[in-house]
Amino acid sequence: MTTKLETLPAPDKKTPGAGKPTNRKPKVRESRGTLAFSRTQRSKALMKHAILIVAGGLMIYPLLWMVVSSLRPNELIFREPGLWLNSLEMGNYTDGWSALTHPFGHYMLNSAIVVLGSILGNLISCSMAAYAFARLQFTGKKLFFGIMLLTIMLPFHVIIVPQYILFSQIGWVNTFWPLIVPKLLATDAFFVFLMVQFIRGIPKELDEAARIDGAGHPRIFLRVILPLMVPALATTTIFTFIWTWNDFFGALIYLTDPDMFTVPVALRAFVDSQSATSWGSLFAMSIVSLLPVFLVFLFGQRFLIKGIATTGIK
């Protein structure tokens, strides 16, 4: 029974280069049936495709409909469940872009600042902590590691009230600091864990060789480990991007001045100010706000899939 896992590469074995599709399992599986089964197999596969196309269509339909609706005149949105466009109506985009106090680009810029700060913070602080947990022996290691794992499961709400009091007393309400500083302090423990797992997969001989050459820990970390953990850093970057871009709760609490709004709070202000009168421009700005996430999804898929398969972050 114990041989089972050894015959197959475990998904958490994150050795450098594991991202390359060297271990193609489907091929093995396809060869399972013999030729005699091929016809039933083919009809089975056909049925599966039919189910998946219908299910996938249902999943994506609301999103496509939103895209199409953002290009329709307002009156049509409430009468057209279909995806056909008779004419392209860009008015929703120009209207929505300037519907709030600032042009929508202002809020995108605010979001971009918070996102970039958060990414930088997570990359630096989480990789440092991960190096210590994965490679160094120190007093209290097991205890700290256990605490770190527990903080992953801690609900945000238990700390938000005092955190708010703390930041409001420093005078940080309506600044981006409350959204960025926690990331500089590695509070997204998920990424620490992800990186620890990754570093464990890097052969120890590499840092031992560097140590023999006289390198200290800072040098080993910067010159040996960091370059090898690029896939883990990429996963962290992508998930931090998406989470921070979508973060509503934090921004809702800390950013009450419209000048400082990030995209989610700006969208919410849009809903409040226009209610049900201009779904078209509301959808248009929703599309604009989803676009960066969609682009990150498009280009970072490989890392997204790997990250979620191994640690469960989404």
Binding site: P62, M66, M128, L136, T151, H157, Q163, F248, L252, I253
Partner: protein, 314 residues
Amino acid sequence: MSAISELSSISRRKGKATAEEKKANGRDNKAAYIFLLPWLVGLVAITIGPMLMSLYLSFTDYNLLQPPEWTGLDNFTRMLSDARLHNSLRVTFTYVFVGVPLQLAVALLIALVLDKGLRGLPFYRSVFYLPSLLGGSVAVAILWKQIFGTTGLVNQVLAMFGVQGPGWISDPSTALGSIILLHVWTFGAPMIIFLAGLRQIPVMYYEAAKVDGASTLQQFRRITMPMLSPIIFFNLVLQIIGSFQSFTQAFIVSGGNGGPSDSTMFFTLYLYQKGFGQFDMGYASAMAWFLLVIIGVFTAINFIASKYWVFYDD
């Protein structure tokens, strides 16, 4: 593989750890603590400090303006007779107990269909995964509000069949259901974890079962389910913890007030209203600790129950 299995194995390894630590004691302490510095500062200042502070505040009356006033167990006895809080608990429990199993069942079903070397897997996987990434955003919550509005997409489709649909979101009996559906719609993340788990089950098990004449259903029950049980457990724990903390969707769909007639008043939404709407920080802190206890109890129950149904190969 995961933070969860890691946690349970730490407690198992306790005895060995102390011996290991004695040997290595003091070797890298200085370097380790320097690498851990950001994380340690964050742990104290952003996590443990605020936790203790919120524990203290939960025994006080505090509105940010006057200093906290010790009121003992008042907040907790108030919670006992707070009908809106009881309702918010009922809403949240319904959401968790209906939404999580439904979402995981769909995720497992689609993962099973996608497994076994189907052509076009990356494409399908992307289609099913995309909503997971967008689902937490304000934009999609806005979309949902329209889809299930009185003149929304769902009712437009129903009208084509001559059915007059209800005002899903404005009707207390269907509003929560619409938000649960939004949660189910984001099944892509657990689906990818299931897919990774299914890939780990050795093909030879199925081959042996086939030789013995086992039906597809028998193979599923005797091989897939036991082998996948750690992954199911992992998804279950993560989803329950996450779902108890849901906020954005309910906030946007209900316009921030948990309506209609409190039918979408999630626990976290009520907490937000108490803390950041009415600045009743003491009560909000008590609620936050109550949430922590609920999540802790459910996680503990999950771990205890897992002994009876989760199958570990080693």
